[in-house]
């Protein structure tokens, strides 16, 4: 049974199943699948000078899965033959463990890197996922600016980072 392309899970993440999903989906598109780029976001032991003990991620899971699918559609608009998979983990995550895994498949390597980079930028911008940091001496929710998923400026920014 193959993994769903977009998911929020409360168990450890793996890279290989996402590679399989995007490769299978891209194989029969355009020029086929010659490249998969993946990104793994990992919990670091330090953040803004604080010694992190662990993180807890919380998500609006149903909305997050829809946001991931939307990011896949956005990527397909720009890179029509590409395919994308995104899994985010929630709950307690230890140092060195993955919080998010993304895989992007395309015919050629340049495109696979662009799609993957675009996807992580968009996930960070608009996915309703929150990070609760437990560090030595306290804990804090990590929040960014208010992000509107329909904000074209943000989307352009993500595209620019991906295609720079």
């Amino acid at each position: 049974m193959s993994a769903p392309p977009f998911a929020v899970v409360d168990t450890p993440l793996a890279v290989e199943p996402l590679v399989v999903v995007v490769e299978s989906a891209a194989r029969d598109r355009g020029e086929g699948c010659g490249a998969v780029c993946t990104f793994v976001g990992i919990v670091r032991a330090t953040h803004q000078g604080r010694r992190v003990r662990h993180l807890e991620y919380e998500a609006h899971a149903a909305l997050t899965v829809k946001v991931f699918a939307r990011i896949g559609e956005e990527a397909a608009e720009r890179w029509p033959a590409s395919t994308l998979a995104i899994h985010h983990r929630v709950g307690r995550i230890e140092i060195g463990e993955a919080s998010v895994v993304i895989a992007a498949a395309a015919a050629h390597r340049a495109e696979s890197f662009q799609v993957c980079r675009y996807a992580i930028e968009r996930v960070k911008q608009i996915a309703p996922v929150w990070k609760h940091e437990f560090f030595e001496g306290g804990d804090a929710w990590v929040e960014g600016p208010v992000a509107d998923p329909a904000d074209d400026g943000l989307r352009r920014e993500a595209l620019e980072r991906a295609c720079a």
Partner: protein
């Protein structure tokens, strides 16, 4: 009518609740649900200008009308709208 208000992350901490079955008039909008929440848990007002919302797991605005049985979610700013080096 009854809707379910759901609060996430720091907003959940401020509200002191995650899910709340809330009674609203039949012409309510997301704004009405927020107002009811702020009346019950005044501490949430601190996040008023930073909150996004979703109705039945679709992004919405404060003006979106809501109906009996809807899930109205209030969403703090997400973690990662930060620079690429975050």
């Amino acid at each position: 009518m009854r809707v379910t208000v759901v609060c996430f992350a720091r907003l959940r901490d401020l509200a002191g609740l995650r899910e709340w079955r809330c009674e609203l008039p039949s012409d309510a909008t997301v704004q009405s649900a927020w107002n009811a929440l702020a009346a019950r848990a005044p501490a949430v007002d601190a996040m008023r200008t930073a909150i996004s919302c979703a109705v039945n797991a679709e992004f919405a605005t404060m003006n979106t009308p809501i109906r009996e049985g809807d899930e109205v979610a209030f969403l703090p700013p997400v973690s990662g709208g930060a620079p690429a080096h975050s």
